[in-house]
Structures are given as C-alpha cells and as structure tokens.
Amino acid sequence: MRTDAMLTAYKTIVTREIRRFMRIWPQTLLPPAVTMTLYFIIFGNLIGSRIGVMGGFDYMAFIVPGLIMMSVITSSYANVVSSFFSMKFQRSIEELLVSPVPNWVILAGYVTGGMSRGLGIGLIVTLLSLGFTQLSIHHLPMVILTVFLTSALFSLGGFINAMLATKFDDISIVPTFVLTPLTYLGGVFYSIDLLPGFWQGVSMINPILYMVNAFRYGILGVSDVNPYVALGMILLFIAILSAISLRMLARGKGIRH
C-alpha cells in the first residue's frame, strides 16, 4: 500500500472512531464530566476544606491533576476496548481485515481514536476544575508528554483487552477490577508519604502512581516519584504493549479463524 493511501486509511479509522464517540456523547463525554464535577464538589470543596494541606497545596489543587489523569486513563481505555470489541461482535472488523490496511496502521488508528477521547475528556475535566481552583503549570512539556503518553498506553491496553475478549463481560473485568483499584490507589487522592513504609513500597509497584505523579509534577511541581523515571516507564510499557498488539493482529488472535 502506498504511503498516501496508508495515510488516508489512518485518517479514515481515526475519523470513524471520533464520529463514534461523538455520536454517543451522552455515554462517552457526559458521564466523566458529571462524575468529576461531583469529585470536585465532594472531595475538593466539602471534605477537602477539612483535610487542609496535602503535599504543600490545598487539597483541591492536589487532587485536580490526579482526577484529570484518572479521567484520561479510563476514557482512553474504554474507547478502544468498547469500539474494537463491538466491531468484533458485529463482525464489522471484517471490513478492515479484507482491506489492504497494514496492521500497524490499524493499531495506530485505534490508539489515536482512544487518545482523542481520552485527551478530549482530560480537557473537559481541566476546564471544569477551573471553576473550583486555579491551575498554574509548573512544567508544560512534562504535562503534555505525560498526558499524551499515558493516554496512548491505556489505549493500547484497551486494544489488547478487546482482542482477547470473547464476550461483553470480558471488557468490563479489567476496568472494574484492575484499572479502578490501581487508579484509586495510585496517589490520586493522597500523597504516599501518608502511608506506612510497607504500603509505600507496595504503592511503588503500581504503574499508575508514576503517571499521576509525573502529571502532578508538571502542574504543581511536586511528586512522590522521579517524573523522568515515570516517563521512561510509560515509554517502555508503550513499546511492550505495541509489540504484543501487533503480534496479536498478525496472528489474527480472536479475529481470524
């Protein structure tokens, strides 16, 4: 396939993905906006005023970066897993399989689609947060790099989940039993300095902790971990998940007999 044709195919996949989540915006864009507003009101305003200072900032300012990251992670993942699995379920994935689009273009298209929703939600939540606190950017490149790479990483995670899933239950298990606990325990609502030594150690094996803290460093300038180590980890995971995804596509795992 020629390069310009591959670019057209890539744009087609991304356009279709964006069209899909925009068409069902009450399911895709509205819920995280409502949920995050509730978090801001309850945890930030009502409870946060009693908690006081966390990591050198008032509680609302402390949790905003974590909540933005949480919404980016869950939306990126949810977009790819539900879109790709429903294509498998409806067999419309065959439209792609019979076409000459290379596997890496298919993967890039889906990941970009997931990132579009994840980053779009991130932007909506950021704008909402401005109604509750003032945000100043400490390190803009770190903010942009962290949020883009994290969104790409969880889009890849959603893709692998969708490839492996054989029924609708399979696409909700990971978000419910893995992603949500890891996010809540990933330093969104607290600094790990508050934890006893053992649990601090346990927290350090949670990859989401690094992403949340790298992003918080970019906005507030404080972090429980080295943000550059966090970026390196995200890049490493992206490389590993990309390789797994491409291998699955080449073998037709779950999509070809």
């Binding site: 067999r91 419309s92 065959e94």
Partner: protein, 315 residues
C-alpha cells in the same frame, strides 16, 4: 489470459482438528461468472474466507490476479471486493458513511470515495437511504448495501457468499441483472449460493465442493449435458386429481397442481402427447423445469456421501 483466482492444494485444519479443506485446486478465469456450490459445511465459505483473509490457511497457495496472498497480500486485496454471507457492518452507522469508510480503508480520498459511493448507492437503489442508520434498512437493502460497499474501490474480482439469501424473488432478479451487468463490464464474479437456479441462470463455470474436496470443476454447459433426462412442467386445461400413468415416462403432480413429466434424452415427446390425448388431458402450456443443475448437484453430493452408501448397503 491471467486467471482472476488460482488456488493450489488449499488445506484448512481448524484448531479442533476438523479438516474443512483437504487440498483443493481451483482456477477462475478473468471475466468469468463462476459458482462455487456445495451443501452446508462443504467448505465453500472457508475457501472464500481464506481468499479474503478472513480465515488463516493451513497449507496451499492462493493467487488473486497473479498476486500471492503470502507474499503480495496488499496487491491481492486491492483487486478483491467481498460480500459476505452475514451482515457485517456497524448497524449504528449511516449507509453513506459505511461505504465511504470502506473506500478510505483502500486509501481512496474522501472526495473520490464519495463520488464512487454515490454511483453504487444510486445503482443499487439506496441513494435515498444514504443518511439512514444501517439498522433501519430492510434485509434486502442490507444485502445491497454490502454489494455497494464491496464495489466502492472498483475491484476486478467480486466475491459473493450467498448474496441473495433471504431476499424476495423480485429483488433477487434485480440483483441478478445488476451482477450480470457488472460482469459484462469486466468484473470477474465468484458466488456461492443455495439457489441452484441462480447459478444455472448466471454462471458460466461451476465447481462443486463437498467434504472439503472439489467434486467437479467444469463449465455449466458440460455439467448439464451429463443429465440423462429433462423435466417438463405441463399446465392442463382441467385440474388433475392425480398424475395420469404414461407408459415410458415418469409423471407426478407438483405442489401447485401442475403435471410434471421426466423425458429421457433422445426420447420423443409425441408418445407423451398421444397418451395424454387418449386419457382426455388437454395441455395448455408447457415449460422446462429450471432446476436441472439442482438434480445433478444432489446426485453428485449423494454419490460422494459415504453415509448414503452405508445406508443403502444395510437396507
């Protein structure tokens, strides 16, 4: 002339050990209208699935217009348009979006894709439905949508797996006319169908497959010449309660009350008419029954089915 499709020694063994294809060879010439026939589970869809990259083959070679799917898959796919048996589009998407998106997968820019989509949606009578979500279409419209989608990148080889399944007779005839016109314009067409009347009406060459093996691969004419008898349907002036006994002929009544008579090849029809005259049966019209291929097909498949032999022996 290049063959549109060449298959050599194609084998497919599924994960559970079931061998769906046992080394089939097939070739379809460019410009042909070709039918791949066989009973359920014979291996038709598996064969076409491999050609279209929806099924992984276990062994063998497949070439589409000379492009080997192992080494030049992208070139092979560019020449292929596929209409599957099951509806396989996003039911929530609009008709126009489904067709233009498919064109995009082939690298066709949106402007050109939109022109091509309009051309085929108009030809297939779906232009008025272009902004309708696919789930709102009738079954026949959905089938036509899949044909428009398969043609949007102007493939040289169109593969249709049961294209008229569940479609009413009027629509089926209009789809036949459309496909015949596509074929006249140079598109090679391969179809599988359960309606053998369809294959008999449309196709020039036929392969019959059963239990993963090709039983016959020849022209329709050669195949039909194998028939030793022809079946005539006679409409009578007065309705008959039962078929008259005709010496030298086998006769029976069909479901619609018409008299059906089998005539051996070379046998004169005069004898039949004399006997009917003697029995006071007045024939007002007569036609050949157009399911000759079906008879031949059933005979071949039964001959190939070992269960039938066993049943015959034990009986």
């Amino acid at each position: 002339m290049t063959n549109a499709l060449e298959i050599e020694g194609l084998v497919k063994t599924y994960g559970d050990g079931f061998q769906a294809l046992k080394g089939i060879d097939l070739h379809v010439a460019e410009g042909d209208f070709f039918a791949l026939l066989g009973p359920n589970g014979a291996g038709k869809s598996t064969t076409l699935g491999i050609v279209c990259s929806l099924v992984n083959k276990s062994a063998g070679k497949v070439r589409v217009f000379g492009s080997d799917i192992d080494t030049h898959l992208s070139d092979a796919k560019l020449n292929l348009g596929v209409v599957p048996q099951e509806f396989n589009f996003n039911q929530f998407e609009k008709v126009f979006d489904i067709v233009t998106t498919q064109a995009g997968y082939y690298g066709i820019p949106l402007k050109k894709a939109s022109e091509s989509a309009e051309k085929y949606l108009r030809q297939l009578g779906l232009w008025d439905k272009r902004n309708t979500p696919a789930m709102m279409l009738s079954g026949g419209m959905k089938r036509r949508l899949m044909i428009a989608r398969a043609l949007v990148h102007e493939p040289k080889l169109l593969i249709l797996d049961e294209p008229t399944a569940g479609v009413d007779i009027e629509l089926r005839r209009s789809m036949w006319t459309f496909l015949e016109e596509m074929n006249r314009q140079g598109t090679t067409i391969i179809l599988t169908t359960h309606y053998l009347e369809e294959a008999e009406a449309l196709c020039r060459n036929i392969a019959i497959i059963d239990h993963g093996k090709i039983l016959r691969h020849t022209s329709k004419r050669a195949l039909l010449q194998q028939l030793s008898s022809e079946t005539f349907v006679l409409d009578t002036a007065e309705p008959l309660e039962e078929a008259p006994v005709l010496e030298g002929f086998f006769s029976h009544m069909d479901d619609e009350g018409a008299l059906v008579v089998d005539v051996e090849k070379g046998q004169s029809l005069n004898g039949m008419f004399v006997q009917l005259e003697e029995q006071g049966v007045r024939v007002v019209s007569m036609r050949t029954k157009a399911n000759r291929l079906e008879e031949l097909f059933i005979r071949m498949v039964e001959d190939n089915n070992p269960r039938n032999t066993t049943q015959g022996e034990t009986a």
